[in-house]
Amino acid sequence: MNLIRAEVERLAARRFVQLMVVLLVFAFGVTAATTLAGSHQPSAVELAEAQRQAAADRRGMELQHERCLARDRGEPRPTGEYTYLPPDCSDIDPGRRDQSPVAADYLSGVFTFTNQARPLLYFLIAYLVLFGFLVGASYIGADLNSGGVVNLLLWRPRRLTVLGAKLGTLLGAVLVLSVLASLAYLVTFWVIAQVAGYPGPTNAAFWAELGAIWGRGLTLVLLTAAAGFSIATVGRHTSAALGALAAYVVVWELGGRIVLQIVEVARPDQLMLSSYVSVWLAGEVGFWDNNACAGPVTGYCDGSYTLTWQPAMAVLLLLTAGLTAAAFTLFRRRDLI
C-alpha cells in the first residue's frame, strides 16, 4: 500500500503529467467557451419552424418509400413524378435509417447536445488515448532512465511487485482522471445545451449508446496506457514507445497498406490496427474491399464487409496482453546497469 501511495505521489508530481492535464483543461475550456459563445437558446418560433421542417422531411421520406413499394407492386407512377427510386426499396426505408430528421438538424447557430455529444466524446477519448500512451511511456521510461527504478529496487527488491505497482498505479490514475474528465466534460456541455442551446430529444437509447461509446473509449484509454508503459519498459526509454508507434504507423499503416494493395491482398483493412481501434470505438464499421470485385465477376458483386467490436476487442486485448507480458518477462530477467 505504501508503494502504491508513493507511486501515486510520484506520478502526480511529474511535470509531464501536470502539463498534459493542463492541456486537457485548456482544450476543454476553449471548446466549452467557443461552444457557449457560438450558440443561443432557440426561440419558440425557431423551434417550431425546425420541428415543422423535420416533420416535412420525415413525411417526404415516407412518401418516397411508399412510391418505391408501389413501383414494386407494379402500380403506375404519378404523372410528373421523376424522383430516383433505388432497385431495393429497403435502402430508403425510413424505419431502417440510423436517424430520422429531427428538429435539431434545422436549428442554425444552436448547440444541440444530442447531435454534438458523440463527436465531443470522441474528441475527448482521442485526447485521453494520447494522454494515456504518452504518460504511460514517460512514467516508466523516465524512471528507468533516471535511475528511479534502481533506487526503488534497492528499497523493494521485488521486481515484479515494483513494476506491477507502477502499472497498476498508472492504470488507476488514468482511469480516475478519464472518468472525472469525461463526466465533467459531458455535464458541462449538457448544461451549455440547457442554458444556451438545445438539449435535443434524449431517450434511453441515446444514453445507452453514449454510455457504450464512453465505456469502450475508457477501455481503449487504459489499453493504450498499458501499451505505452510496456513498450517503454521493453525499450528502457520513453522514446522507445514513441519510436515504435511512429515506426508502426509509417511502416505498416502507410507502407504496408500500399504493398498490400499492390499485391492485391483481400480485405487489407482487416490487417490494420487502426481499423480495430475505430471499430472498437464505433461498435461496428463497414469496409470496402477493392479486390473483391476485381477480375471477371458475373452478376452483382458486393465488396463491402463489416467488422464488429467483438473481434476488435480480442485483437486489442491480445496485443496489449502480449506487450505487457513481454515487458514483465524482460524486466524480471534484465540486468539493470
Partner: protein
C-alpha cells in the same frame, strides 16, 4: 568461509552484447565483509567492482557463485533484509524535477520509513538548507550527498557505498570520511568502493582489491601493506657515488637515482648510516620507504602511472610487460587472507 555480513564466493558474470560481444566482468570473485568492518573495495575502472555490487543487490543476475547479505541468500532472500541495507551504486541518478526532499520522501513512503526521518538524513549529509530545490540544479557532489542520504534513510546495519566521494570537494570528502567513521563507530558495517586510495587507507580497516574480475588481495589494510614492504630506504648523502659503492660493497641492494639512492632489504636503517659514517660519507637524509595503498593497488592491478603508455581500462596495456602488466594469481600474495 566464515560467516560475515557480506559473503561472496565464486561470483561470475559475463555480459553478452550483439555489438561488443562477450565480456567477462567478474570471474570467480570472493569477498568477505565481517560485522563492524569498514571495508574498502578497490579496483581499476572496468575491473568488476560495480558489477559485483549490483549482483549483490539483485540488480544484475549472476551467472554463478554464492552470495549472502546479512545471512540471507542474495538475490532470492534479499527482500527479507533490504530494510537493513543502505546502498548507493555508482553515480547517483535522480529525477531532476523533484526536490531532494520529495525524492527522499517518496523512497521513505515506498520503504515504510517514517517521513520524519527525511529531515534528519538531509541534515546529516548537509543538504537541509537546499532540500527544497530541484535536484537538476544540484552539483555532482550534492547529488552524491543526496544518494548517501537515501542510503542512510532506513538506518542501515550495512551500508554499501560505491564511489561516495565522487564529485565531492575536499571539505566534502572530509565530511564523508567523518560520516563513515561515525557510522562505523555506531556499529554500522560499511563496504566502500573508491578510487581515492588515500581516503580508503584513512577510513578502512579492511580492504579487498579486485582486478579483471578476480580478487587479488584481501585482508586488514595493515597486513596487505605489510605484505608489500620491501624494507627499502631512501638515502641522500654528500657523495652519492661513493655512498653507492660503499653500500654495494657492504652487500646491500642499491639502486641509484639522480639525487638519491634506494637501498633494499634494510632491516635496520641504522646499518646504512653506520656503514657510510664509518667511511666518512655523511648521510643527509635517510627515510624508510613504506608502501601505501596506492602503490600496492597499482602493483596488484598492473596499472602503473606511466604517461608514455596508453592504458586500457583495468590495466591491460598494448604490449605485455611482465613487470607491470602481469595477471596476478591470488596465491602470489602474502597479504591475502581468506
Amino acid at each position: 568461509m566464515t560467516s560475515g555480513v557480506i559473503e561472496i564466493e565464486g561470483l561470475r558474470k559475463t555480459f553478452h552484447s550483439l555489438r561488443r560481444g562477450r565480456r567477462v566482468a567478474v570471474d570467480g570473485f570472493d569477498l568477505l565483509v565481517e560485522a563492524g568492518q569498514v571495508h574498502g573495495f578497490l579496483g581499476p575502472n572496468g575491473s568488476g567492482k560495480t558489477t559485483t555490487l549490483r549482483a549483490l543487490l539483485g540488480l544484475v543476475r549472476a551467472d554463478d557463485g554464492r552470495m549472502r547479505v546479512l545471512g540471507a541468500s542474495a538475490p532470492e532472500q534479499l527482500p527479507q533484509v533490504a530494510g537493513r541495507v543502505g546502498a548507493i551504486v555508482e553515480s547517483p541518478q535522480f529525477y531532476g524535477n523533484f526536490t531532494a526532499y520529495r525524492t527522499l520522501r517518496l523512497l521513505a513512503l515506498a520503504g515504510g520509513v517514517p517521513v520524519g526521518r527525511v529531515d534528519e538524513v538531509l541534515a546529516q549529509v548537509g543538504l537541509a538548507d537546499r532540500s527544497h530545490e530541484r535536484v537538476k540544479g544540484y552539483s555532482l557532489g550534492m547529488k552524491q550527498r543526496l544518494a548517501v542520504a537515501s542510503a542512510l534513510l532506513k538506518r542501515p546495519e550495512l551500508l554499501i557505498l560505491d564511489e561516495p566521494a565522487n564529485g565531492l570537494d575536499p571539505a566534502g570528502i572530509r565530511e564523508m570520511r567523518d560520516l563513515v567513521r561515525g557510522l562505523a563507530a555506531d556499529g554500522v558495517t560499511v563496504l566502500v568502493s573508491s578510487h581515492i586510495l588515500a581516503e580508503i587507507q584513512l577510513i578502512c580497516d579492511h580492504v579487498t582489491i579486485i582486478s579483471r574480475g578476480r580478487r587479488v588481495a584481501a585482508g586488514p589494510v595493515t597486513e596487505v601493506l605489510a605484505g608489500f614492504d620491501r624494507h627499502e630506504c631512501l638515502v641522500r648523502a654528500d657523495d652519492l657515488t661513493r655512498a653507492e659503492e660503499l653500500l654495494t660493497a657492504a652487500g646491500m641492494a642499491v639502486t641509484g637515482h639522480v639525487d638519491h639512492l634506494v637501498v633494499g632489504e634494510v632491516a635496520d636503517p641504522a646499518t646504512v648510516s653506520r656503514t657510510l659514517g664509518e667511511q666518512g660519507v655523511w648521510v643527509r637524509e635517510l627515510t624508510p620507504m613504506r608502501p601505501d595503498l596506492e602503490s600496492v593497488f597499482l602493483e596488484l592491478t598492473g596499472t602503473p602511472a606511466s604517461p608514455a603508455v596508453p592504458r586500457q581500462v583495468d590495466g591491460s596495456t598494448p604490449h605485455h610487460d611482465p613487470a607491470v602488466g602481469r595477471q596476478i594469481d591470488l596465491d602470489d600474495f602474502r597479504g591475502v587472507t581468506s
